[in-house]
Symmetry: C2
Subunit: 227 residues, 2 copies
DNA sequence: TCTGTTTTTTAGCTTGATCTAAATATTTTT
DNA sequence: AAAAATATTTAGATCAAGCTAAAAAACAGA
C-alpha cells in the first residue's frame, strides 16, 4: 500500500524545478550529479538538496546513492523534458507573438512552465506551428520527449574563412543576450570568420555580409554555429 | 519595524485565491462575508479560513472583526481585480487564439492568473486588442481596476416580444456552458422572446432569427441580456 | 430570557520546503 | 596512511497551508 500512485507520479512545483536542474547538470558529463552542484544551481542549501533527493528517489525519477550523487532515471528524464518542452514553447510564444526580447523571456517562462494542462500545450504548439527550436536556438522536445538536434560548433572552433549560421547560445544570461543584441548578432545570422588572433583567441567576423564584428574568445565560446 | 513592506504587499498563491473568493462573495450584498461562505467557496474547512483571514487582515487587504465576517479594503479590491483581470484576459486568449471552447478555459485560467509579470499582461492585453469582456461576457478590469459595465437583465425578466443580445452567463459551470453550446446559444447571439409560460416560467425564444428554443426558468435565470 | 443550535475561533497536528548546526563520509594532502 | 579539508547527511527548527477536535461566541426558538 506504500506506493499506490507510482504509475502516475505527479511532481510538485519545487520537485519539477529540482528535476530540471538535475537534468541540465547531467547533460554532457554522464557521471552522477553532486549535491553541491544542485545546491548551487537551485540556490538552496546542500541540506535542503539532500532532503529533496530522498523524495525524488522515492518517486523513482532519480537514482540516488548517498554520498555519491544522483543520476536521472528514464522516467525522470521524460518528465524533465516535458517541463523543458513547456518552457521553450512559452519562450517562442513570448518572443514571436508578444514581442518580448529574448533576454526578457526566461523568468516568465520559468513560471509558465509549471502550468498543468496537456491540452494547453498541445494547442499552443499548434498555434506556434510546431516550432523545433526556441528563441535561443535550443531544441524543443516533442510530446514524447524526443528532440531534433543539429550538429553544432562553437564559434571559436571555426577556422579563418569558415562560414556558418548562429543557431544557439550557450550562455543565456540577460547580460550576454543584450550584448549580442547591441552588436547585431541574433539566431539565424549568417557569419564568416575574417580573422583569428592567435594571441588571445579573439576573432573578427562578418555578419550577414554587411557588418564587421570583433568578438573576444570569451564571447565566441558561447555562440553555437551550424556550418 | 513590524510592517516594513506594507507599501508593496505581495500575496501568496493561496492568499490571492482567498482574496478573489472574498471579492466575489462581496459583490451584490454589501455586508460582510462569513467564514462559512468562504469555506464553502474555497472548499477548505472553516478553521483554515479563520487562519487565513488573520493573515489577510495583517496584510491590510481585508477588514476583519472576529465573529462578524470580513469586508474587503480598497487595497484588497485593487489586488483582487488585478487577479480577475489576468484570469479573464487569459480566457480571451485561450478561446480566441487557442480555440478552447468556453467550458474548457476556467481551470487553466485559474492557474495562469497567478503568473506574476506585469509586462506579460500588458503585452497580452495589447495582443488581444484590449478586450473589454471575457468569453462569458464578464467585464475585464483595466490595469487600474476599473471596469466597463453594461446594464443587463436576466432572460427570465424579459417580456414577451422583447428582444436583446446574450452578453453573459451567471452560472459558468462547464455543464451549463456545454448545454448552451448544444442548443446553439452563445455570447453575442440575438434573441427574441416568443412565448412565456406563466405556469413554470419557461419560455420560447428565437435565436439569431433562425432557431426556436425552449428554455426552463432555471436556465433563463442564468442568462444575462443586453437590450 | 434562557437554552439549544449553529457558527466561528483556538489549540494542536501534519506535510512540504526551506534553514542552521552538528555529525559523518569522502577526498586530498603531506 | 593519517590528518586536514571538503562534501554530504542527519537532527531539529521554522513557516505556510491545510486538517480535526474542542472551546467560545452569536443566534434563534420556545
Amino acid at each position: 500500500m506504500k506506493n499506490k500512485k507510482d504509475l502516475m507520479t505527479i511532481l510538485s512545483y519545487a520537485e519539477e524545478n529540482y528535476l530540471k536542474a538535475i537534468y541540465h547538470l547531467s547533460e554532457g558529463g554522464n557521471k552522477g550529479v553532486s549535491t553541491n552542484d544542485i545546491s548551487n544551481e537551485m540556490k538552496t542549501k546542500p541540506a535542503s538538496v539532500s532532503d529533496m533527493l530522498r523524495k525524488l528517489a522515492e518517486k523513482a525519477v532519480i537514482d540516488y546513492r548517498k554520498y555519491y550523487g544522483v543520476t536521472i532515471t528514464e522516467a525522470g528524464k521524460k518528465m524533465a523534458l516535458q517541463v523543458i518542452r513547456k518552457h521553450r514553447l512559452w519562450e517562442v510564444f513570448l518572443v514571436e507573438k508578444l514581442k518580448f526580447s529574448w533576454d526578457e523571456v526566461h523568468e516568465v517562462a520559468e513560471e509558465l512552465e509549471h502550468v498543468k494542462s496537456p491540452l494547453l500545450m498541445q494547442r499552443l504548439d499548434e498555434y506556434l506551428n510546431y516550432p523545433k527550436f526556441d528563441p535561443h536556438g535550443d531544441p524543443i522536445p516533442d510530446e514524447y520527449g524526443d528532440l531534433k538536434s543539429r550538429p553544432r560548433l562553437l564559434l571559436n572552433e571555426l577556422d579563418i574563412h569558415d562560414t556558418g549560421q548562429i543557431v544557439a547560445v550557450k550562455d543565456s544570461s540577460a547580460a550576454f543576450l543584450r550584448y549580442l543584441d547591441k552588436v547585431g548578432a541574433y539566431i539565424g545570422a549568417r557569419i564568416k570568420v575574417l580573422e583569428k588572433v592567435e594571441f588571445d583567441g579573439s576573432l573578427e567576423i562578418l555578419v550577414d555580409n554587411r557588418k564587421n564584428l570583433f568578438v573576444s574568445r570569451e564571447v565566441a565560446s558561447n555562440i553555437l554555429i551550424l556550418q
